[in-house]
């Protein structure tokens, strides 16, 4: 009996991993471990490797370029780790694979909501969705809010769920690249804390599905409490961006030539730049919530474009040929 329980406990991490893998539609390539130059080791030449990539069984790696123009692969596996809690000064990975199966069983199992499940959700984490909405609006629990004035928690979750479904992806697919980035920042911080200043690792950019992405991370004073009844807290500002490729630029210039220069600039920014906080990463995986139209929103289309999960044409199609209209429209329809 004790043996069986012990075996089950030992298998638990593997079960969790498999559960998460089931929710991914976007599969990662694999390479043998010997090909990877694992951080903190670096090489001068850019290795010919896919990034992100799976190796060592189930570990996930991405390729980084350092400030000294060297290259290194970092283990950024999305997994549940030690607690992540600013209040107690705990900086583990937190519950990166946890999905809210109590309120959204179908979502927890498949990584995507059904409209019926959302229409029936009148409470999340024991709080009424109306209360969550009031707290989430601007000048509620935060100045900028988690949704716009004319949006609700359910209208936002529902609309983004439709987008992700149209893209043929799942919410864990969306959260994964963001967690990959976040985990690398986490690794860099922990590694550097134990180093002399001159041997610190200074990551400058990273490679994801053939794109090179740059970034900036900043902390702030204090922390933001979650609008749900959960342990999620936020304090950081994450910015990630990349240059659109010539093909992407040409495609947009052709398909959206009717836009003004200002509108075109905004559209290109939406497809190539992201600003958010770490709370959203957990929110996406746990509830399928990307925040409404505010400065912290992580639009699923932005994630798919930035991290190269879908081509510009596929994104254009998913927005019914109007990406600009898609980005500016607020989500005001509720599932009922």
């Amino acid at each position: 009996m004790t043996k069986t329980i012990l075996t089950l406990v030992m298998l638990l991490p593997a079960v969790c991993f498999l559960q998460a893998q089931h929710s991914y539609k976007h599969q990662l390539p694999t390479v043998s471990s010997e090909k990877l130059i694992k951080a903190p080791a670096c090489v001068n030449e850019k290795p010919d490797l896919p990034s992100p990539v799976v190796s060592d069984g189930s570990r996930e790696f991405i390729l980084f370029k350092t400030a000294a123009n060297k290259y290194t692969c970092m283990d950024v596996t999305v997994e549940n780790g030690e607690p992540f809690d600013y209040k107690q000064g705990l900086s583990g990975k937190g519950n990166q694979l946890k999905a809210d199966g109590e309120d959204f069983p179908h979502f927890a199992e498949t990584g995507i909501h059904t409209t019926e499940e959302l229409a029936n959700a009148k409470t999340i984490t024991g709080l009424s969705v109306a209360k969550i909405t009031v707290d989430a609006r601007p000048w509620g629990s935060s100045g900028v809010g988690f949704v716009a004035d004319d949006e609700t928690i359910m209208s936002v979750i529902w609309a983004d769920n439709q987008t992700v479904e149209k893209l043929g992806l799942t919410h864990p697919d969306m959260a994964r690249p963001l967690f990959h980035f976040w985990n690398a920042m986490h690794y860099q911080e922990q590694y550097n804390a134990e180093q002399e200043p001159d041997s610190c690792l200074q990551l400058a950019s990273f490679f994801y599905n053939g794109k090179e992405l740059e970034f900036k991370v900043q902390g702030s004073r204090g922390w933001q409490e979650s609008i749900f009844n959960d342990e999620i807290l936020g304090t950081g500002h994450l910015e990630i961006w990349r240059e659109l490729t010539d093909e992407e630029q040409e495609f947009l210039n052709e398909k959206y030539k009717y836009l003004s220069a200002e509108q075109m600039k905004q559209l290109k920014k939406e497809l190539s730049y992201l600003h958010t906080g770490e709370m959203v990463l957990f929110y996406i995986n746990r509830y399928g919530f990307y925040e409404g139209h505010n400065e912290y929103r992580v639009d699923p289309v932005t994630v798919a474009s930035l991290f190269g999960l879908k081509s510009i044409n596929e994104l254009h199609q998913s927005a019914n040929g109007d990406l600009y209209g898609y980005f500016i429209a607020h989500f005001t329809e509720n599932p009922e």
């Binding site: 229409a119 009148k122 409470t123 009031v134 609700t152």
Partner: protein, 310 residues
Amino acid sequence: MKKGVITAISAVLLIFSLNIRAQNQQSEIDSLVNKMRTAGREWNTYAEPLIKIGEPAVAALIENARDTSLSLWNRRIIMTTLNTIHSEQWVEPALEILFDENEAPEIRNRTTAGLSGFDLSHVNTKLWELFSGFENQFYKSNIAHLLLSADTAMAYRAFYELYQTQDGHIQRNALQKLAFLRPGESTNWYLNALQGEDWMTANLAIDSLISASSLNADLLLSVYYLPDIDEEVQWRIVYVLSQRINSANIPFFCEALKSESWLVRTESAIALTKLNKEEVLKQLVVLQNDSAEVVRNNARWVIRELNNSY
């Protein structure tokens, strides 16, 4: 005879050792206070032992708190240490600094934490004048708190003004104090706050109304049915009533289920699931066939939830 000599020698030794101890403590105080005069971010290292020493350290700290040749930072940390010790010796010097117009406003404000809780009735008019003269909302709020132990009528006036003119923490705190000073008016204040725009203040009103020992629901409903009332205010009322769990409100919740506001009808649906199943079902039957789809859906959701809960 021998016994008497031993007792006398012991007494002398005791006095001698106490004297040495007092001298040691005084030199420790002098050394710590001296470090506070130039301390930077490490100031807690010196403040903590001074706080532990308590009363004996107060006189030396006061002398330095008054020393205008020190930087604002060092005077501030000395005052903070005094405030934490919270000695009666500090009251008059602190009042002198508070009322001294030549002092920097942040230094004057710093004294308020050390004065709280002491009888300040002898300076009530001066405190009121100070409250009226300050423009900074945080300084005003601190003086209003001092008025609580100086003159409750003036304190009420001060918090009334803060409630009407401020928002966020200051308004929320003012509401709390208004209800504390005039318990008979508290329900009216909370109803007023429910209709305000400030999230923090409205939340305090919601929590207070939910936990009130008795509440006249009609008062809340009279606000709910005001013409042009904001949907968020209506939601707050539904939320308060839903948390108090009273079957007498079933007809109201059924009516609210037909509201045009998503916030209101969603909260009403949740409220109905907490009430007596038989009574709710009886009144919901009609709504299952309502002409509006959202009403029918919400009614069916409530029925399903109630049936699943048994």
